[in-house]
């Protein structure tokens, strides 16, 4: 154990950082794209099924295949890995945003509109606060997925804890495999915990017990 940390400790810290960096950029992009898109889809019902259908299909592509597909388009390295993970993060966030917004009590929407809220005010002051727990659940789910799949990103040269795992596989060094897997798991739990705290923060006080 001590020997492992002596040999690989600094490398591990660098890989954890890389791993986190790739995942969080991908997840951040996912949120920035999927949340507004999900809101937009609630306003254009006809497009909604199509968009969510496409996102579902993208989700079914095996992760390794998707990463491989990135190579002819974007080459190798961090950038294609971030794009692939970003695509993966879309669906849970998009679907939860869409259903969360639609699930908002129609009476509240009616009352808010009837009292003279603009469409933007309605989204910001009523629908988003009401849908926040569901949207956050989608983001948390994407967060843990992205951390786990980011391990595969090393396959296309993006670095991250996947380097340990693949090296361990190639050279048959079980310590390396374990030394890569455990941090990934811990990272995933950590991210989930942090996002859980964020969820509590954005959820309206009265709905926490729901």
């Amino acid at each position: 154990m001590v020997e492992f940390f002596n040999n690989y400790g600094s490398q591990m810290m660098r890989l954890i950082w890389e791993h986190l960096y790739i995942s969080m950029v991908a997840l951040g992009l996912g949120v920035v794209v999927a949340v507004p898109l999900g809101i937009l889809l609630t306003r254009t019902e006809k497009l909604a099924t199509g968009f969510i259908g496409v996102a579902s299909i993208l989700q079914t592509i095996p992760s390794l295949a998707l990463l491989a597909l990135m190579i002819p388009i974007f080459g190798i390295g961090r950038f294609p890995a971030i794009i692939a993970l970003f695509i993966y993060s879309l669906l849970p966030i998009l679907r939860n945003t869409y259903t969360g917004m639609r699930k908002v009590n129609p009476d509240l929407v009616d009352a808010a509109r009837g009292m003279g809220m603009t469409e933007f005010q309605l989204i910001k002051k009523v629908e988003l606060p009401q849908a926040a727990p569901v949207i956050m659940a989608g983001i948390r789910l994407s967060g843990t997925y992205v951390i786990a799949w980011a391990a595969l990103a090393s396959y296309i040269g993006a670095g991250g804890l996947g380097d340990f795992i693949f090296n361990g596989l190639n050279l048959y060094i079980p310590e390396l495999i374990i030394g890569g897997t455990i941090p990934v798991t811990i990272l995933a739990l950590l991210v989930d915990f942090v996002l859980g705290q964020v969820e509590k923060k954005v959820t309206p006080r009265n709905q926490i017990t729901e």
Binding site: N105, D107, L108, D110, A111, A112, R113, G114, M115, G116, M117, T118, Q121, K125, V126, P129, Q130, P204, R205, N206, Q207
Partner: protein, 388 residues
């Protein structure tokens, strides 16, 4: 004033939710739209704040076509109360009350003051301001729903079955409260319900709707007294119609066109009118038929030798306005011993006369009128012996 001119709402699939209605709602009036579900009452109401846009016709508020106005701004000056309260669960009572003032960017102190004042009006203390709607009872929630619609001084308030989900006792209390607030604050209320008791209790005017049309639009008294057709009758129900004799107004029983003379009629002419019509009293009017007084046979007889007009000897007379409930008139006639009481319209023009005979008719009708089981007893006649 809210005016509907030939307004229709036709949906894309061809269903006519509202079919060519015209309706005038005056300022400060409490108008109840009533009908079965699918009668178009809610659609009619929701067209006022453009939650639904009409497909043809024109709706105007104080002379301005509402389609020329920004829908959002229009809604901010119209209060809106719905059945399920529509209170925002993620906002405190205070935040809910000042929703519209906040949209209108009022100052903080003014919003606070308004919220506290309104809360006091519905008998709730300021301690409620920081609570969340779920912590309140159903009745309390709808109280907040009502004052939220008043908070920005809206002069028109739309209410869509606001008390439908409440228990009868709470509902009763809230009806009282709303009626009271409306009368005191002079707001115009358009209220949708399917509950006739509620309509009769609250309304200045009731619009009965069916299949997108207004079947009858009148005061509760007039609707009870003269249901427009069988549909209205069945909607009112047997019980209420039975009670209507006490709700009857003088207009329904009065003798129309009583005998009158104008002020400048000579006594000689007056006595001739009396003889021709077999009456002993004449009502005196001016040339516009406005009631001035009364002359009776005794007065004319005393002065018959003099060349006078009826104006010089007529006496004042007690009268009632048309629309007065018969019960109150009957009370006066019986207690004070008047033979009859003239009925005038709003301009003072003589319309008719309630006589003691009219009261007898009413009493007869209530006792025997609708009872078909009473058989008419054959009258026996005395036999006259033939005399030779």
């Amino acid at each position: 004033m809210i005016e509907f001119k030939n307004v229709s709402k036709v949906y894309e699939d061809g269903t006519k939710a509202v079919d060519d209605i015209s309706l005038t709602i005056n300022e400060g009036e409490f108008v109840v739209l009533i009908g079965t579900s699918g009668s178009g009452k809610t659609t009619t109401m929701r067209m006022i704040n453009r939650m639904i846009d009409s497909t043809s016709g024109e709706i105007s508020i104080d002379g301005t076509n509402i389609k020329d106005e920004n829908a959002v701004e229009l809604r901010r000056r119209i209060g809106y109360v719905i059945q399920q309260t529509g209170l925002m669960p993620h906002m405190t009572v205070y935040e809910n009350i000042v929703m519209v003032p906040k949209l209108l960017k009022w100052e903080k102190e003014k919003m606070r003051e308004t919220a506290e004042r309104l809360l006091d009006r519905v008998d709730m203390g300021t301690e409620f301001l920081d609570r969340y709607p779920q912590e309140l009872s159903g009745g309390q929630q709808q109280r907040i729903g009502v004052i939220r619609a008043l908070a920005a001084n809206q002069d028109i308030i739309l209410m869509d079955e606001p008390f439908g989900a409440l228990d009868p006792i709470t509902r009763d209390a809230l009806q009282e409260l709303v009626k009271h607030l409306q009368e005191e604050m002079g707001r115009t209320v358009v209220f949708v319900t399917h509950d006739m008791d509620e309509a009769l209790k609250l309304a200045d005017k009731i619009a009965i709707m069916s299949e997108g049309k207004i079947i009858q639009y009148d005061t509760p008294d007039n609707i009870l007294a003269n249901p427009a057709n069988e549909f209205v009758e069945s909607f009112l129900g047997e019980d209420r119609l039975q009670q209507r004799s006490t709700m009857q107004t003088v207009d329904q029983v009065m003798v129309k066109k009583p005998i009158t003379v104008t002020q400048d009629t000579t006594l000689g002419d007056a006595i001739r009118v009396m003889r021709d019509n077999r009456v002993d009293t004449l009502f005196v009017t001016d040339s516009d038929y406005v009631l001035q007084g009364v002359v009776d046979f005794e007065a004319i007889n005393k002065n018959r030798q003099k060349a006078m007009t009826v104006q010089e000897i007529m006496k004042y007379v007690y009268y009632v306005k048309s629309g007065t409930l018969l019960s109150s008139v009957a009370d006066k006639m019986l207690k004070r011993g008047y033979k009859n009481i003239p009925v005038v319209n709003e301009d003072g023009i003589l319309e008719g006369l309630v006589t003691r005979a009219s009261l007898v008719d009413i009493v007869y009708d209530t006792i025997w009128g609708d009872d078909e089981e009473v058989e008419s007893i054959p009258l026996e006649k005395t036999e006259l012996k033939e005399t030779e």
